[in-house]
Symmetry: none
Subunit: 406 residues, 2 copies
């Protein structure tokens, strides 16, 4: 019996409510340029501080030591799905990011317009980074002319700049396939090849070849975006839902499409309409009557980390803290606050540094630590653990597990 099976066997229904509040990329590192302080340390957070004093703390390794996760693996880990076991392809993540409602088995590809010369050689892999409006116009044109290939539906959606997404929806489709992006200018568009040798992958290879045959003539003469490249061609994997795996009816409150998409991937119901954290908390509190697990996603901490903007990241944390009493007043039985990974300002991107985490419930206990900071969390009772175990701690705090053995 593997550990997931043990958890499943011990799992019992519960009337408790659970909330996971994710401050995207909140973890950071202390460096001299920032006065040896992390944003969590520099921020004034009276509400988080008071909560931290009454909570169990620790840090989460998103995937494995030294591995920096994308948003997909970062969130899957927090949702309790081992990111090494449940891999989600880049095409799928991109489609989720554009707010597309995917179905199991959909094959998705990241695509972008490029420039071809008269002989079909790629002369600019990004078509001069054409404006979003041109991409939207050309995607609409392609979409109006190519709706189906055989029994397979083709869905094309424009993204930002030269980027778009192509989704193939039909029977017996499977990824992954190799990119059609040759990786360098001066080469022809590559053929998408099955990464394995399955019938589903072969079917998709044929579909993509046919898609090029239909689409390139439509784009002919358009300058500079007269061709396109496809990458990260993958199908949406079959993932056991939150309900199946944890016996939890789960809702997601997020503003950005990608996080809603990742939550939907594991069967959460997305609750829409929020434009800021207060509205998010408001929706989360309302969801409490229909759901026993609510995931709330807060984006600004990550965005400012990516920018390397330390003062703005500090301010984003303070704004979250100011809104927090609203969520606390709703008294979820179990509340966890953490990030999906660190986005340290000095790195200006995601990193492997474990993110701090806090769990509060009537039986979480208190580690007697003053604040939810990286340094305090190092001494917490949760230790430095893989993110995939967070849900198990939350379930335990919700008294969802029977005793193991007598």
């Amino acid at each position: 019996m593997n550990l997931d099976q043990v958890y499943a066997k011990l799992q019992e229904p519960s009337d408790k409510t659970i909330c996971l509040l994710v401050l995207d990329g909140v973890g950071d590192i202390a460096v001299e340029a920032n006065g040896w302080k992390t944003p969590l340390e520099a921020a004034r957070t009276p509400n988080l501080d008071a909560l931290a004093k009454r909570s169990a703390l620790g840090r989460l390794t998103p995937v494995a030591p030294g591995i920096t996760p994308g948003s997909g693996p970062g969130h899957l880990g927090l949702f309790g799905y081992d990111p090494l076991e449940f891999e989600v392809g880049r095409g799928v993540i991109e489609a989720l990011g554009l707010g597309m409602d995917l179905k199991h088995g959909d094959v998705c590809a990241r695509a972008n317009f490029c420039t071809l010369d008269g002989k079909g050689i790629v002369t600019d892999r990004r078509a001069g980074r054409v404006a979003t409006e041109i991409t939207e116009e050309q995607c609409a044109l392609l979409g109006s002319k190519i709706k189906k290939i055989g029994d397979t539906q083709v869905i094309i959606k424009a993204g930002k700049g030269h980027r778009f997404v192509v989704v193939f929806r039909g029977k017996g489709l499977e990824g992954p396939l190799t990119d059609t992006d040759p990786g360098h200018e001066g080469m022809a568009i590559a053929t998408a090849k099955p990464a394995g040798n399955t019938a589903g992958q072969k079917k998709v290879a044929k579909l993509i070849a046919e898609f090029y045959k239909l689409a390139l003539p439509i784009l002919k003469g358009r300058k500079p975006a007269n061709g396109f490249l496809m990458r990260g061609i993958a199908h949406q994997p079959a993932i056991p839902t939150f309900d199946e795996r944890y016996a939890l009816k789960a809702a997601c409150v997020a503003i950005y499409p990608m996080y809603k998409g990742l939550a939907q991937l594991v069967g959460m119901t997305k609750i829409e309409g929020a434009h800021d954290i207060k509205e998010e908390f408001d929706l989360a509190i309302k969801a409490k009557s229909d759901f026993n697990y609510v995931f709330v996603h807060y984006k600004p901490t990550d965005a400012y980390g990516e920018d390397g903007n330390f003062p703005a990241k500090v301010k984003a944390i303070e704004e979250l803290d100011a809104a927090l009493p609203m969520l606390l007043a709703a008294k979820f039985d179990v509340l966890a606050i953490t990030g999906d990974h660190s986005t340290p300002c000095p790195v200006k991107g995601h990193s492997w540094h474990p993110q701090p985490v806090l769990i509060h419930s009537a039986i979480s206990g208190s580690d007697g630590l003053e604040r939810l900071t990286e340094k305090c969390a190092n001494s917490g009772s949760l230790g430095i653990m893989e993110a995939k175990y967070l849900i198990r701690h939350m379930q335990a705090n919700a008294k969802m597990f029977a005793k193991f053995g007598a």
Copy 2:
């Protein structure tokens, strides 16, 4: 895909330089007899202290909880090779310790002279611990008379006291085999038997039987060392080199042969000529222009731990600290300082207690801890992790890993 495969897939070339400084056996335990202080705590180490304040700290479990490693597994772990997966036989370690240049497939045995009575019964398993000179003389004699058995080369090298090493070099040889040491006086020399049932092991069993047939008559009449026993009969395993595994060109600076040998086992280039830590640092700094990973080994901390000499171990740490600015001035991009295991003075030997570790780079961050001591390291952001992950953290700090997933 296992985790090593994931790391391999994410690995990217880097122009950063990495240094691993190993203070052999530096970890220790605080006991009343030493004023509840460990040597690292008792030592005056202004340079290590200053570095620790700007670094990430933690502790390394050499193999697994409660397991005390020898020098082989201790170093393999630091080099990122799981000591449970990559086992190196004692015969191989012993040969490396004598500075022998081994080749893949060499079968090595620890041997020692013993005393036999007229009927071939072992009456003293250590031949009265004969002097090194006698062992040297008798090994030279055996070596001059037995150079080959069939197509296999036989290499005999004297060690200290009654100990020596026998290496068989040829085609299709494989270990391990059982010891010829019966374990007690009053018994005959045992037969070396294949531990498995492979053709290579069977070939070595025949070679060893033949070796005894040739060697015992040569030793006949010699008192008290007229026989010998063999233990730890093993072949040098095929281990992927540092370059293959980590895309790192690695060098080793050590004074004692065993550590050079262990480094060579994983494909490091040994750089010789140092007699003390200053000369070692000097060579390490020079190596920086040709190598992007340099391992520096410092022995005295272990030697004094083995002696149970607390003041001398404190002094060895202080001497290392005094030399440290030289290494720091060379500005390796990533520097890790740790032990290969603990050698606590109260234990007078290796132990399982996790050794403290420090990683310093531009993006290591600081845990705000005052010193590189066991107690401080307990509160570090690296947590208490298996030693095999150290290299992954060092690679991450050198920006050698692409993001996992989107």
